[in-house]
Amino acid sequence: MKSFADYHPLVLFVYYLAVVSLTVFLLHPAIIIFSLLGAVVFFAFLVPVRPFSRDIVFYFFVFLLVAITNPIFVHKGETILFFLNDNPVTFEAIVYGIVVAAMLVAVIFWSKAYSILMTSDKFMYLFGKAIPKLSLVMSMALRFIPEFKAQIKKVNRAQKSIGLYTSDSITDRMLSSLRTFNSVLAWSFEHAIHQADAMKARGYGLKGRTNFFLFRWKRRDVTMFISISLLIVAIFWLIHRGVFAYNYYPALTAVEWSLEQLPQFAIVFLFMILPALIELKENLLWIYLKSTI
């Protein structure tokens, strides 16, 4: 079920913009953890179990790769654990690598959820009038990867059905998938040109051309928009006060836990977990309604 997707596209867009930029620019470990948690839980509501677990495994390896890379190339930091080829491997660099990897994975999961919710028609609805050319290019770029994957699958199946690429050898299979990749790359260039031409032929971006969209600004959109804006303003006020300042080099900032900080971090946590909460509420409601039948 995708109940968060039922909100007005503007609400979704503002939320995503805020959540991704907060994740990227605030390198506070607690905020990164909140963001990762919010993104993964929300994504779990959107997709079935099997592709979800496959994604989790894949991005766990991405996480490991990024986390390991940082301490190998960055030698800043006070607490030296050991020396690798005469270069120090420090505790601070390892922590920073883990935080950056978590940030990267969180942004990837937010974006995956975003591509499910913000379909290209919603994007066009928001920006089609204001910046027609750029929004067309943007929506085509965002559609590129899923379309590319679908086409690769199609070509692969067609080739298999005529008896090609059925070798048992892993090397052979990898080389053959490389050939498929090549052909699909050429196809995607051509496809992009055709798409742009088709849009032009239909008069896209011309004056006086009208569009039909189903999106209405409802009351719940207003409440959602106001609550999201309030949370964003509160978070920016806290940033301005330096609550989320954190240093990794040369030594980690010592975090003093106090009761005063609890509401400050609770605001960020609430902001990050909001979509997952909405999905949870709708799911529970659905179960409840079913039980009353």
Binding site: E78, F82, F83, N85, D86, S169, T171, Y249, P250
Partner: protein, 188 residues
């Protein structure tokens, strides 16, 4: 299937080469506990490391570094110390031996990693280039003169006095005026 085995063997070879090329040392192993003794006929040089210029530019310093651990109260990270000069030793060799002996943090860029063909000192004692404003970094002088070329290209002589100084203003605050003529000389 034979192709798979070949690829597998190649990957195994690659891993073996990488493992063979890595050297893991513990902290105690890396830092030198013993260094060449100064005998009567040994050639020696003097070296000191100083970050006094930071004290005058405290407001420009990265807030994370505003601590006595990184910038001592008098700015002196290493007092003038005498070390044995081995034949053909450059300033870099002496510095590396010194920091390893005194357990001082130091990070450098190797001579093969930049266009100058010389080692570049990025940071000493967690004070890095640009830590104290956009014109800051480490400079060195030998016998009071700034050579204007890299540490690993300066071959030392007996009795030379090396000073590593942290500048916050391209050398002007530590007694070095970078003139236009010198800039031309370097370009040539």
């Amino acid at each position: 299937m034979r192709k798979d085995l070949l690829v597998l063997a190649f990957i195994a070879l690659l891993i073996a080469v990488i493992v063979n090329g890595t050297k893991i040392q513990s902290v105690e192993e890396y830092y030198l506990t013993h260094i060449d003794d100064i005998t009567e006929d040994a050639e020696t040089v003097f070296i000191s490391i100083d970050a006094g210029a930071v004290l005058d530019n405290w407001d420009k310093l990265d807030p994370a570094l505003r601590d006595e651990k990184y910038v001592p109260e008098d700015g002196v990270i290493l007092e003038k110390t005498e070390y044995v000069l081995r034949p053909n030793d450059t300033v870099f060799d002496i510095l590396l031996r010194t920091v390893r002996h005194n357990k001082i943090h130091m990070e450098y860029q190797g001579a093969d990693e930049n266009v100058f063909g010389s080692v570049y000192i990025q940071g000493i004692n967690h004070l890095y280039e640009f830590s104290c404003g956009p014109l800051s970094g480490w400079m060195y002088s030998v016998n009071g003169e700034y050579p204007e070329y890299g540490v690993s290209r300066y071959v030392l002589e007996d009795g030379d006095e090396i000073e590593f100084k942290y500048t916050c203003d391209l050398g002007r605050d530590i007694g070095h005026e970078f003139t236009r003529e010198e800039g031309r000389k370097i370009q040539r």
